[in-house]
C-alpha cells in the first residue's frame, strides 16, 4: 500500500515522518481529526477512516503523553482491521464527549485521559471498531464478486477470496463499504487468534521523538504569531493592582503588556524578549488573604480536622467493639506534602482570538474541557471554538486542568495576532494545581496472634473531586481521596474508613499521577509494615497471612519477593522493603532495596510484579512500570512544595529536585500471566513504590518515616 498525502482536511499543523527503512514504522501523526465525513472516505465509526487511496487513518480517543496509547490503541484496532501498523496515520481526536466517551471517567466528562483507564476503556470498543470496518469491507468485496462473505477474508489491508485469486485493496472497496449498513454486532477474535495483542510491538512514535519532528504544544508555530511570557500573582488568589511597564517596553522586541485579573503577560517578537520584559515588569499586587497563609496554618487545619468524625467511606463489622477486645493497639499519623507536576514541557498555550471565534493549540488531557473553558471566557458557541490538540510533553494530571486556557484566552483577546503564551519553569512550578497535602490517622487493634482484627483509618485533606466532578463527591466522601484505603486486598473483618474534607485555604489542588492510590498506598503499606514490626513478623509473611481472599494480590507479592530474593541477609546500611497494591483494576507488588550512607538514601534496585490482566503490549507495561516507579521515587525522596506567606517557595529543578540517571535504580518488571480483563498500568508504579522505599529505610535504619518526602529525615535522626 502506498502512502499518499495525509488524509483529512484541515491538517493545519500536520506533518509526515518519512520512512526511514524497514525497521522503523512510517506511520505519521496527521494532526487533529475533523468531525464530519469527507467525500470518498469510508468511516464506519469515529475511530477508523479509509479513503479511496487506501490510506488508513485511526482517530485516537485518548491522548499520548508518554504512556504508549498511540501504539496500544492502534494495536487493538489493527488486530481486527487487519492492517499493518507501519501504514497508518494517527489523528488526535477532536473535542466530542459523545463520540469519545469513556464510561470509566464519565462523571469527569468522558473524554479524558487519566486514571489509568485508557486500555481498560479501549479494550473492547477499539477492537469492535476495527472488526466493524473489516466486516463491511468483506461484505463489499463479496458483493462485488458475488460470492459468500464467509469465503472471503482480510489480510494486510486487502480482502481476498479463498477459492479464487481475486483480491481487492481496502481503498478499492472504500466507496462500496461506505454505502453498506453498519452491523450492530460483530464477532471478535478469541485471544488465541491474536496476532498483535500480547506481543512486544515497538512504539509508533519513537522516530519522531528522536529526530525533533514530534510536535508538542510548545512547538506550535502559527503564521503571524507573537510570543508571550506570563507573570502570575505570586500569591494564590491575588490580583493585579498596577503595572509599570516602562522598563519592560524598552526591552528590544517587546511589543505589548497585557493585563488579566490575576496575571500580566508581556508580548514580544520572541520568547526571549517576552521573558526579559517579564523580568523588567514592576507589578503591584492586591495579594489578598492568601498572603497570610503558610504551611503551619495548613497543617494545623488538617491536624484539627483529623480529630473530627469524618464521612463514612467504608464500614465492615464493628471496629469499635473489636478494638475493645483486641490485645494490642497501634496508632500512627502519616503526612504527605503538596506536590507539583513539573511536566518537562512547561505549561503553555497558543491562541488566536478573532471577534467571533477562537482557535487554540495545546497538549491537553481534556479536549472538551478546553472548549468549556473558552466558552466560559468568551461565550462563543462551541462550533466557533477549534481545539488543535498536540502531543503532551508529560501530563501527570497537570493537563487535566484548563486554568491556562482561561488565562490565555483573556490575554489573546487583547493581542491582535495569534499568541503563544509560555509559563517559565518558575511560573510552572509556582502556579501549578497541586497534589493536596494529606493527613492520615490510622489505628489497628491486634489479636493474640498479631492479626489486625480492628482497623480505623481517617483521611483528612482536600477534595479534588468536589471541584473537578462535583457529582462524584457524595455524602461527604471523595472517592478519589479514599481510593485504595477503602478497598484493601487484606482481610480486615472490622474496619472503618472515614474522610474529612479540608481545603488548604488558597492553595489550588488537583490530580497527580497515581491520584488517591498514591496517597492511600503510602499510608496503608507503611502501617501494615508497622504491624509486622509490632508483632515481630516478617513483612512478607505478615501480608501473606492477610491475603487469603485476594489470590491475585498474593500472587504478585510472591512473584516480586521471589524475584527479589526476599529473606536474604542485607549488608549493613542496606534494607529491603515491600508493598502490595490493588488499584486501577490491576495488582502490583514492589520490592525496593535502599542504601543509607550518612543519612543519604539511595534506592539501589526495584523489583516489580504486576498482574494487569490481559496484556496488550508487554513493552509498554515494562516501560510504564519503570517510569512510574522512578516518578514515584522522585516524589518519595525529594518531592515537596511548601507555602510561605501565600507563595510557593520552590521555583525550578534546583529546589524542586528530580531523580537523575545517576540516582535511578534498575527496575525489573515481572508480568504475571493473566486471563482477566485488562487493568491500568500508567500509575501503579508511582503509587506503590513510596511505601516500599520507606519500609526499606526502616529495615536499614530502624527509623520509621511517617512523613514524605524522605528528604533529610534520616540524616536529622542520625544527628539528633
Amino acid at each position: 500500500m502506498t502512502f499518499a498525502a495525509a488524509a483529512g482536511g484541515g491538517l493545519l499543523l500536520g506533518f509526515k515522518v518519512p520512512a526511514r527503512g524497514d525497521e522503523v514504522p512510517s506511520f505519521s501523526i496527521g494532526g487533529n481529526a475533523i468531525e464530519g465525513l469527507q467525500p470518498g472516505v469510508f468511516a464506519p465509526n469515529a475511530f477508523v477512516q479509509i479513503d479511496r487511496a487506501g490510506i488508513v487513518t485511526l482517530v485516537m480517543p485518548k491522548v499520548e503523553m508518554g504512556q504508549g496509547v498511540y501504539t496500544s490503541i492502534p494495536m487493538l484496532i489493527a488486530e481486527e482491521l487487519e492492517v499493518s501498523l507501519s501504514n497508518v496515520t494517527l489523528e488526535h481526536a477532536p473535542p466530542n464527549e459523545k463520540l469519545f466517551f469513556d464510561p470509566l471517567v464519565g462523571p469527569l466528562g468522558g473524554q479524558l485521559t487519566g486514571g489509568s483507564t485508557s486500555i481498560r476503556y479501549a479494550w473492547e470498543p477499539m477492537r469492535r471498531a476495527g472488526a466493524t470496518a473489516r466486516v463491511l469491507l468483506v461484505t463489499a468485496a463479496a458483493q462485488r464478486w458475488n460470492v459468500d462473505p464467509a469465503s472471503c477474508y482480510a489480510e494486510q489491508g486487502e480482502i481476498l477470496h479463498r477459492s479464487s485469486d481475486r483480491r481487492a485493496s481496502y481503498g478499492q472497496l472504500a466507496d462500496a463499504a461506505a454505502k453498506l449498513p453498519v452491523p450492530k454486532a460483530v464477532t471478535l477474535k478469541m485471544p488465541e487468534q491474536f496476532k498483535l495483542i500480547g506481543r512486544p510491538v515497538k512504539r509508533l512514535d519513537s522516530q519522531s521523538k528522536v529526530d525533533g519532528a514530534a510536535q508538542f504544544g510548545l512547538d506550535v508555530r502559527v503564521p503571524g504569531m507573537v510570543y508571550a511570557v506570563i507573570v502570575n500573582s505570586p500569591v494564590f488568589g491575588g490580583t493585579v493592582a498596577s503595572v509599570d511597564g516602562t522598563a519592560a517596553m524598552k526591552v528590544p522586541g517587546v511589543r505589548q503588556i497585557v493585563r488579566a485579573a490575576s496575571a500580566v503577560a508581556v508580548v514580544g517578537d520572541h520568547t526571549w524578549a517576552a521573558k526579559l520584559g517579564a523580568a523588567a515588569l514592576v507589578v503591584k499586587w492586591n495579594e489578598g488573604d492568601g498572603a497570610n497563609v503558610s504551611m503551619q496554618d495548613i497543617v494545623t487545619d488538617l491536624a484539627k480536622a483529623a480529630e473530627r468524625d469524618g464521612a463514612l467511606a467504608r464500614q465492615d463489622g464493628d471496629d469499635a467493639k473489636a478494638f475493645e477486645s483486641s490485645r494490642t493497639r497501634v496508632d500512627a499519623v502519616y503526612q504527605q506534602p503538596f506536590l507539583a507536576h513539573a511536566t518537562m514541557e512547561p505549561v503553555n498555550c497558543t491562541v488566536h482570538m478573532r471577534p467571533d471565534r477562537c482557535e487554540i493549540w495545546l497538549g491537553t488531557q481534556v479536549p472538551a474541557h478546553v472548549v468549556d473553558a473558552v466558552q466560559r471566557v468568551t461565550g462563543f458557541a462551541r462550533e466557533k471554538i477549534v481545539v488543535h490538540n498536540q502531543l503532551l510533553g508529560g501530563g501527570f494530571g497537570r493537563r487535566l486542568e484548563t486554568d491556562m486556557v482561561e488565562l490565555v484566552v483573556k490575554v489573546g483577546k487583547q493581542v491582535g495576532a495569534p499568541v503563544k503564551v509560555v509559563w517559565t519553569r518558575e511560573e510552572d512550578i509556582q502556579h501549578d494545581i497541586y497534589r493536596p497535602y494529606y493527613y492520615d490517622k490510622i489505628s489497628a487493634g491486634l489479636d493474640a496472634n498479631g492479626k489486625p482484627v480492628a482497623w480505623q483509618h481517617r483521611i483528612a485533606g482536600s477534595s479534588v473531586m468536589a471541584r473537578f466532578a462535583p457529582s462524584v463527591f457524595k455524602d461527604g466522601v471523595d472517592p478519589d481521596a479514599v481510593e485504595v484505603a477503602s478497598d484493601l486486598p487484606y482481610d480486615l473483618p472490622n474496619q472503618r474508613v472515614e474522610y474529612v474534607r479540608v481545603e488548604p485555604r488558597h492553595v489550588p489542588t488537583g490530580f497527580w499521577r497515581g491520584v488517591g492510590s498514591t496517597r492511600g498506598t503510602f499510608v496503608v503499606e507503611s502501617f501494615i509494615d508497622e504491624l509486622a514490626t509490632q508483632t515481630k513478623t516478617d513483612p512478607v509473611a505478615y501480608r501473606r497471612a492477610l491475603l487469603g481472599k485476594s489470590p491475585r494480590a498474593l500472587n504478585v507479592l510472591d512473584t516480586a519477593t521471589k524475584a527479589a530474593g526476599w529473606g536474604a541477609p542485607r549488608p549493613i546500611g542496606q534494607g529491603r522493603g515491600v508493598s502490595v497494591m490493588h488499584a486501577f483494576g490491576s495488582f502490583f507488588s514492589i520490592v525496593a532495596d535502599v542504601e543509607v550512607d550518612n543519612g543519604e538514601v539511595t534506592v539501589k534496585r526495584v523489583v516489580c510484579a504486576v498482574d494487569c490482566g490481559m496484556v496488550v503490549n508487554p513493552n509498554t507495561i515494562e516501560a510504564q512500570m519503570q517510569g512510574g516507579v522512578i516518578f514515584g521515587i522522585t516524589a518519595a525522596l525529594y518531592g515537596e512544595i511548601t507555602i510561605r506567606d501565600g507563595r510557593v517557595e520552590q521555583s525550578n529543578f534546583t529546589d524542586y529536585r528530580m531523580l537523575r540517571i545517576d540516582q535511578a535504580p534498575p527496575v525489573d518488571v515481572h508480568i504475571v500471566k493473566s486471563a482477566e480483563a485488562p487493568g491500568g498500568i500508567g500509575e501503579g508504579g508511582t503509587a506503590a513504590v513510596a511505601a516500599a522505599v520507606t519500609n526499606a529505610i526502616f529495615a536499614a535504619t530502624g527509623k520509621r518515616l511517617r512523613r514524605l518526602p524522605v528528604g533529610d529525615q534520616v540524616k536529622d535522626a542520625d544527628e539528633a
Binding site: E23, K202, D205, D219, R221, T271, A623, Q626, G627, P666
Partner: protein, 152 residues
C-alpha cells in the same frame, strides 16, 4: 545584531540581540523546534545541542558566543555516525515515553559515544546526569547507550 550561524551544515542569518540564548534563536526565529525549553537555567538538559560536537545547553548560550562554531541540533544529528546509532538504539529499545526531553537525551548521548566509544557506567552517569527525564526512561537510556556504543 546580525549574526551568521552554521546550523546543521546550513548558514542562517538572524537579526537578534547578542545575549539572546541560542535556544530561542533556534526555536522562535529559525523554526527548529526539536530543541526544547525545559528550565532556562541549564538544569534539565532538554535544550542540549552540539557546538563543534560538544554537548552544550542552548538555553544559557548567548548567540554572540557561538561565533564560527558548528551548531548541530536534533534535526541534524542523524547525519552523524554517533547520532544515527543513538537514534537507532533509542527506537530499537523503545526508550521514549512522552518524548519531550528525548531531544536533549539523544544529543547528550551522541556526544558521549562520539568521544568515548566504550563508556563505563560512571561515564554514562557523568554525561547524562544533566538531562532530566520526568517519565523516568533512565533504565532504557542506559541500555541504549551501551548498545549504540557497541556499534561505534
Amino acid at each position: 545584531m546580525v549574526v551568521r550561524l552554521n546550523i546543521n551544515d546550513a548558514t542562517h542569518t538572524v537579526d537578534a540581540p547578542g545575549d539572546m540564548p541560542l535556544l530561542w534563536v533556534l526555536r522562535d526565529l529559525i523554526g527548529l523546534t526539536g530543541t526544547k525549553f525545559g528550565c532556562g537555567i541549564a538544569q534539565c538538559g532538554a535544550c542540549t545541542v552540539h557546538l563543534d560536537g560538544a554537548a552544550v545547553r542552548s538555553c544559557v548560550l548567548p548567540i554572540a558566543a557561538v561565533g564560527d562554531k558548528r551548531v548541530t541540533t536534533i534535526e541534524g544529528i542523524g547525519t552523524t555516525p554517533a547520532g544515527r546509532k543513538i537514534q537507532r538504539a533509542w527506537c530499537d529499545l523503545d526508550v521514549v515515553q512522552c518524548g519531550y526531553c528525548q531531544s536533549g537525551q539523544v544529543m547528550a548521548a551522541a556526544a558521549l559515544i562520539a568521544s568515548n566509544p566504550n563508556p563505563s557506567e560512571d561515564d554514562i552517569n557523568a554525561a547524562m546526569t544533566g538531562n532530566i527525564c520526568r517519565c523516568g526512561t533512565y533504565n532504557r537510556i542506559r541500555v541504549a547507550i551501551k548498545r549504540a556504543a557497541g556499534e561505534v
